[in-house]
């Protein structure tokens, strides 16, 4: 009979994570393992900016949250091990340094990871007041055909699917995807478990 090992409980990230998780972004003298800038000069793929706010139940943008992303490269491949010279699909950004408490992530549009799923980016959200990080996904508004066949989007109530679709906007030569996240309320974002 093997000994049973039970999961360690989750706890909130609290308000003071910045110098531990996102030190460079907030100006602390400690290296960081991930940032909001995923692209380098030689990264292949279409450059995009993901821009959004995270709203609490009172409609206020949250100023002390961390958003993490995990995504494939432009050809749909995940490269789990960090190396300096390859595209690494892990990003991390705090919402406390932007004057409007936005998160802005500079990355590339991921390719399709398999025949079924539409291009997407996984998100992990943590904050003071959130006892267990939540998972969600970002899909792209210009992928309507692929989105219509996506098994995750198709598992959602029809009226809530739009909460996972980021809106593409061209801002001069910058391609932006706007994606606001609502923790609660009428437009509460769909959160996922696996």
């Amino acid at each position: 009979m093997p000994k049973s090992f039970k999961q360690t409980p989750s706890q909130t990230v609290g308000p003071f994570f910045a110098y531990g998780l996102t030190p460079r972004q907030y100006g602390y003298n400690f290296g960081e393992i991930a940032s909001s800038q995923l692209t380098k000069s030689d990264t292949k793929g279409e450059r995009i900016s993901i821009i959004g706010k995270l709203y609490d139940g009172t409609g206020t943008p949250m100023a002390n949250a961390v958003i993490e992303i995990w995504q494939a490269d432009s050809e749909g491949n995940y490269a789990p091990l960090y190396t300096k010279d390859k595209f690494f699909g892990y990003g991390r950004v705090g919402t406390g340094t932007d004057p409007e408490n936005r998160f802005v992530i500079e990355t590339i549009k991921p390719g399709r990871v398999d025949d079924q799923q539409a291009p997407h980016i996984a998100l992990i959200i943590m904050s003071r007041g959130i006892m267990q990080h939540v998972y969600t996904r970002l899909y792209f508004s210009d992928e309507a055909e692929a989105n219509a066949k996506d098994p995750v989007l198709n598992a959602l109530p029809a009226e809530r699917k739009t909460t996972l679709i980021a809106e593409r906007k061209q801002n001069e030569d910058r391609t932006e995807y706007h994606f606001d996240i609502y923790m609660q309320g009428e437009n509460e974002t769909v959160f996922l478990e696996f």
């Binding site: 609290g14 998780l21 393992i33 923790m183 959160f191």
Partner: protein, 231 residues
């Protein structure tokens, strides 16, 4: 390969009324359960090149003109999955208050001194058996605004990656014997029978004689489902 789900009997609820800010920040709608795809079965991983020489030693990585003030501690333990298998080469990130109960974070307005020689952040990679080890200073308790005369027990924040994005865990480690633990709504929010897993145990055996006392804190992440027998 399929991973076990987040175990509801182990984790606190999203809406935890004694912890005020959860009321407006925890989702109110049930999450939707979707299949585990390659996206969820992969996740960021690092090798030792990400960890600097002093990253695991918080008594040295923030020095500007001397040693930090406080009681030196070794914090060590193993990162395992639900099958008892080691999470090898996984990144452990920690952050904490200084000995006076003050965080370096500029938003912390608690009237207690900063320590010019203590940052309070560290990171380490587990070894092949899942062991990590930090040297630090015992953090102080500090007051917060949740309710009248609220004090957080002394704690250290932990961030774990594990083998994929489903094994991600953010938690807090508490110290055995801390009298503030029973009064803390964040600690108390985890289910009975689970919350004691957040309490590090004093270990004389792991102490470094003449240098630092030691606490042991093991962490269990979500693990793979056992392979079913063929029918």
């Amino acid at each position: 390969m399929k991973f076990k789900s987040r175990d509801r009997s182990s984790h606190p609820p999203y809406i935890l009324p004694p912890y005020k800010s959860s009321l407006t920040r925890g989702p109110k709608t049930e999450p939707i359960i979707v299949p585990q795809s390659l996206t969820e079965l992969t996740g960021p991983a690092y090798d030792e090149s990400i960890v600097g020489e002093l990253d695991h030693d918080l008594t040295r990585n923030g020095q500007t003109n001397g040693e930090p003030i406080g009681e030196r501690l070794i914090i060590t333990g193993r990162i395992l999955d639900e099958n008892g298998d080691a999470a090898a080469n996984t990144l452990v990130e920690i952050w904490q208050a200084n000995a006076a109960g003050r965080y370096v974070h500029t938003n912390d307005q608690h009237d207690a001194p900063l320590d010019p020689n203590f940052l309070g952040a560290g990171r380490a990679l587990t070894d092949d058996e899942g062991w990590y080890k930090f040297t630090t200073i015992r953090p102080g308790a500090y007051p917060w605004g949740n309710h009248y005369n609220a004090w957080r027990p002394t704690h250290i924040h932990f961030s774990l990656l594990g083998p994929n994005i489903m094994t991600r865990l953010i938690t807090q480690m508490y110290f055995e014997g801390d009298p503030l633990i029973p009064f803390d709504p964040i600690f108390a929010g985890s289910p009975a029978g689970a919350k004691d897993r957040l309490v590090a145990k004093f270990s004389l055996e792991l102490t470094e004689p003449g240098f630092a006392l030691a606490y042991r804190f093991d962490i269990v992440l979500r693990g793979p489902e056992a392979t079913p027998f063929e029918a």
